[in-house]
């Protein structure tokens, strides 16, 4: 173990999962999952319940043994190394704090296991209490703390022995919304200050966006796509990723060719240029246009934009940050988010919908 050798400022904890799979009752709960998490990176596994994200995290932690594939941390193959020798920190969804130990004793647990002597241990404890902002709570028992405070203790406990990797399993899942946003930002701050790699599991895409350097979207035991939040949002590889991250309008299109600015597709009578998508085979696809990407105008199409279709406004609501407009594009329901301070069409107006050239995404059609 390299606890004593580690220095602040040096990032370590590169995690590699190669073709990891685990069967449950003959069905793969996780299949062929490969991720590469760089040292010091904040990586999120995002997916709905049952997508296998927690299973993958537990395999990385050594709490589950994979049926297939390998895990390595900092180049060392740890597939068969027991949890306690992997030098990791784990934050459980229900925190799993030791109820019979105080906050301080919980945080010190890993240090005592590693036989850190009293003086450096007390110093580290003080640092951790400060880092997770729990001053004055050190002698309390977990039962006397609020959910948010317990969450900080769990974080402090996981980080006290300077683990190579911090693994977090929906750590904000049990908290209410306001608290989640505050603590989410704090987790990111603490991870940056502690200079450790973090792998974070969540089903909440907002959380994932706020926290992650990169993320992997999971579905049915498979990793659908890996990338920065921006890459995934702007260029989803498939229908699932397009729909799971934020709202979108999906226009059925036919691929007609390629041009300098992207792939040309036909939607109805119009041809527009969208972002190319390598996995796309065949000619039928969906063109994914986010509500905020849609431009609503009269008869004219703005510069640098391609026309998609015409539509009739059916509903228009002021939501503070945006004006949410619903439209009927010859039977297809479309939603657009407009600048509430600009020109806003009225219900019943016939308008033109367009999108910036090369910015809309193309995803293969699939029956899902």
């Amino acid at each position: 173990m390299t606890t004593s050798a580690s220095r602040q400022g040096e990032s370590r904890g590169e995690v590699l999962a190669m073709g990891v799979g685990l069967d449950y009752n003959g069905q793969p709960a996780l299949d062929n999952a490969s991720i590469e998490v760089l040292a010091g990176e904040f990586f999120t596994l995002l997916g709905p319940s049952g997508s296998g994200k927690t299973t993958l995290l537990r395999i990385i932690a050594g709490l589950l043994e994979p049926d297939r594939g390998r895990i390595s941390i900092d180049g060392e193959d740890v597939t068969h190394v027991p949890t306690q020798k992997r030098d990791i920190g784990f934050v459980f969804q229900n925190y799993a704090l030791f109820p019979h130990l105080t906050v301080a004793e919980n945080i010190e647990f890993g240090l005592k296991v590693r036989k850190v002597s009293a003086v450096p241990r007390a110093k580290r404890l003080k640092e951790m209490i400060e880092l997770v902002a729990l001053g004055g709570m050190a002698d309390r028992y977990p039962g006397q703390l609020s959910g948010g405070q317990q969450q900080r203790v769990a974080l402090g406990r996981a980080l006290a022995q300077r683990p190579r990797v911090l693994l977090l399993d929906e750590p904000l899942g049990a908290l209410d919304r306001g608290l989640r946003q505050d603590l989410g930002a704090e987790i990111r701050r603490i991870q940056q200050e502690a200079n450790t790699t973090a792998i974070y599991v969540t089903h909440d895409q907002e959380e994932a966006f706020v926290l992650s350097d990169r993320m992997g979207v999971m579905r049915d035991g498979l990793i659908s796509q890996i990338g920065t939040p921006e890459q995934l949002y702007r260029a989803p590889k498939d229908l699932f990723v397009a729909k799971f991250l934020g709202k979108t309008n999906l226009f059925p299109v036919e691929v007609v060719g390629t041009s300098a600015r992207g792939t040309d597709v036909r939607v109805g009578d119009h041809v527009l240029t969208a972002r190319p998508n390598a996995p796309l085979t065949g000619t039928s696809a969906y063109c994914s246009v986010r509500p905020e990407q849609l431009v609503v105008s009269g008869d004219t199409v703005p510069d640098d934009h391609h026309k998609i279709t015409t539509a009739v406004v059916t509903d228009s609501r002021f939501l503070g940050q945006r004006q949410s407009v619903r439209l009927d594009a010859s039977g297809m329901e479309v939603s657009a988010d407009l600048d509430p301070y600009g020109q806003v069409p009225a219900v019943g107006d016939r308008v033109t919908l367009s999108v910036r050239i090369g910015q809309s995404a193309l995803v293969p059609r699939e029956d899902a």
């Binding site: 049952g50 927690t54 996981a158 693994l167």
Partner: protein
């Protein structure tokens, strides 16, 4: 999204049990735990029963492995021999009568307590529980004194002009003693069932126009039917194979099955005795299957399930004819239970060399004698050693077994282990006693301390297991995995996190095993061949041969011990409750 919207579809085996590691190693680990326990149960539980069964099927009860010769003669005798039929009839009558009387007293008592306010209820429950914890031998000693010709009952009868009235060495005396023994069990089972009843259901029936009587029979009674039936079967089993009370209060001529078995084994006549043992076992198994079916198909009301008062206290307490009758019967029940326990104190301070009531003079010299003579110091030490040994072994077995079952995913496996683990406390103690006696004779363990520890562990470990396994099942499985992620080894995580987390239950398991051994008479009676015997057996021997003045002194000390434990416990509970409340206010 809120918490409630999340559903956890990660496979159950994966989330609930983070231990799915190298499978063959898990299996070897489990085997290492389970093989010694299985061996122990085979030697000290299965083999004893098997040996009794084999003897019951052999000529003269002498089974020979080299030349097995089977016969049903012993069993046919049970149903043909007039003398044996009388014994069996007497036993059955005692069991039926004591069950009926116990229910008649326990039902109104439990009902009355369930209707009281929490605090008052707790006090009356304590008056039921204290006698329950005092060794049956001690209570029996008090009962013999009360019922003896110069005891208060007979003297009062003569004084009032009713003439001689002695229940000692009669079947009526046996009945009284047995009811006294069974009452706490039945009260606790019924009380648990009654507090679980939702009083709104009765109110609902009343709003629909049902009379109080109708509501009682058609709404209330059906809801506690399962407690009533399973509790009734439980005490019937206990009454059927009860040994100590019939042995002392019944006298040598009015034997029951258990007493007859003991007399026969004393002269090494195994044939009919083992057949009777098997008969008891069969009756017990039938009743137990009944209990399981009733409790399984309805809501079970176990002894352990006396939780915080349910909603029945919401129903306002009002003096109605039914409540008044219940109160009177409760008074009789509580008196039956507490008077014998308190009666030992006046008996212990008399100056005379024979034990009389009321005591003549006042002296504490008998207490001094208890602590200075070897007559009592030997038994006290013996009991303490056996008790501690039993407790350690029981907790070890319980921890290992609970560990295995808490990790098991198959419900069938859990049920099998659970059923086997509890079998020894259901088996008639007289059958276990003669079986273990036979086995330990062959293993040359009779008369040794370790032999008695093994025997006591057979009946104490199930109780420890019940406590520890339910605590382990209720504990957060995550904290063990959390300890691993922090670098703690498997061993360290198990002891400092899992066991530490359920420490109160582990201590409770230790205490219950110790008390079981400390109070146990039947096994100890058979297995101790030396001159020094455990405390309850020593008292039992004095009850057989005649009381000396130090017996009430020892009895008083034992009662005081129970009272002390009860007081200390309730004080500790109050302190922790207050501390917890204070903590909450502060945070």
């Amino acid at each position: 999204m809120t918490v409630t919207e999340q559903s956890h579809t990660t496979p159950i085996a994966i989330t609930s049990d983070p231990v799915i590691k190298r499978k063959w190693r898990t299996i070897t680990g489990r085997l290492l735990l389970i093989v010694p326990i299985a061996a122990f149960y085979t030697i000290f539980f299965l083999w004893p029963i098997a040996t009794v069964v084999l003897r019951s099927l052999s000529v003269d009860g002498k089974f020979d492995f080299a030349a097995p010769a089977f016969t049903f003669e012993n069993f046919t005798n049970l149903f043909l021999d007039d003398f044996l039929l009388v014994i069996e009839g007497r036993t059955l009558l005692l069991a039926v009568n004591s069950t009926l009387i116990t229910i008649a007293l326990a039902f109104p008592t439990a009902y009355f307590i369930s209707r009281l306010k929490k605090r008052t209820a707790a006090i009356i429950l304590l008056l039921v529980l204290v006698p329950f914890w005092v060794s049956i031998v001690v209570r029996l000693f008090a009962v013999t004194s009360i019922l003896s010709p110069n005891g208060p009952v007979n003297q009062a009868s003569i004084g009032l002009g009713f003439g001689e009235f002695s229940l000692l060495y009669t079947q009526a005396g046996t009945l009284v003693g047995t009811v006294m023994y069974l009452l706490p069990y039945m009260i606790l089972v019924l009380y648990a069932g009654m507090v679980a009843v939702d009083s709104n259901l009765m109110l609902a029936a009343r709003t629909m126009g049902a009379s109080a009587t109708y509501t009682f029979f058609r709404v209330y009674l059906p809801m506690i039917r399962s407690s009533l039936l399973s509790g009734g079967l439980l005490i019937f089993i206990l009454g059927l194979s009860f040994f100590i009370v019939p042995a002392i209060l019944g006298g040598p001529r009015d034997q029951t099955i258990s007493v007859y078995i003991q007399q026969q084994i004393d002269i090494f006549q195994w044939g009919v005795a083992s057949a009777m043992g098997v008969l008891l076992l069969i009756a017990t198994v039938i009743c137990y299957v009944g209990v399981v079916r009733i409790a399984g198909s309805f809501q079970p009301g176990g002894v352990g399930a006396v939780q915080a008062k349910g909603v029945s206290q919401d129903l306002p307490f009002r003096w109605s004819p039914m409540i008044i009758v219940s109160a009177v019967l409760t008074f009789i029940t509580v008196a039956t239970l507490t008077i014998p326990v308190l009666f030992v104190f006046p008996l212990s301070v008399g100056e005379t060399g024979t034990v009389v009531f009321p005591p003549r003079g006042f002296t504490l010299k008998w207490f001094g004698e208890v602590f200075t003579s070897n007559t009592w110091l030997g038994p006290i030490t013996q009991s303490a050693i056996v008790g501690v040994g039993t407790a350690i072994l029981s907790v070890a077995i319980a921890l290992a077994l609970a560990r295995i079952t808490s990790r098991m995913t198959s419900t069938i496996g859990k049920a099998v282990i659970g059923g086997l683990a509890f079998a020894p406390i259901i088996a008639p103690s007289i059958l276990l006693a003669i079986g273990i006696f036979d086995v330990e004779l062959q293993l040359k363990l009779t008369g040794t301390i370790i032999g008695l520890i093994f025997a006591h562990t057979v009946i104490a470990a199930p109780l420890s297991y019940a406590l520890i396994s339910s605590a382990m099942a209720g504990a957060d499985h995550g904290i063990e995995a959390a300890a691993w992620t922090l670098g703690a080894s498997r061993t360290r995580a198990f002891w400092t996190v899992v066991v530490r987390g359920i420490l109160p239950s582990v201590l409770g398991a230790f205490a219950i095993a110790f008390v079981t051994s400390w109070d146990e008479v039947v096994l100890a009676l058979f297995l101790q061949t030396g001159s020094t015997k455990t405390l309850p057996v020593t008292i039992y021997k004095y009850l057989e041969s005649g009381i000396v003045p130090t017996v009430p002194a020892v009895a008083s000390l034992l009662v005081t011990l129970v009272l002390l434990i009860v007081v200390v416990r309730s004080v500790l509970n109050t302190i922790t409750a207050r501390r917890r409340a204070a903590r909450w206010e502060e945070s």
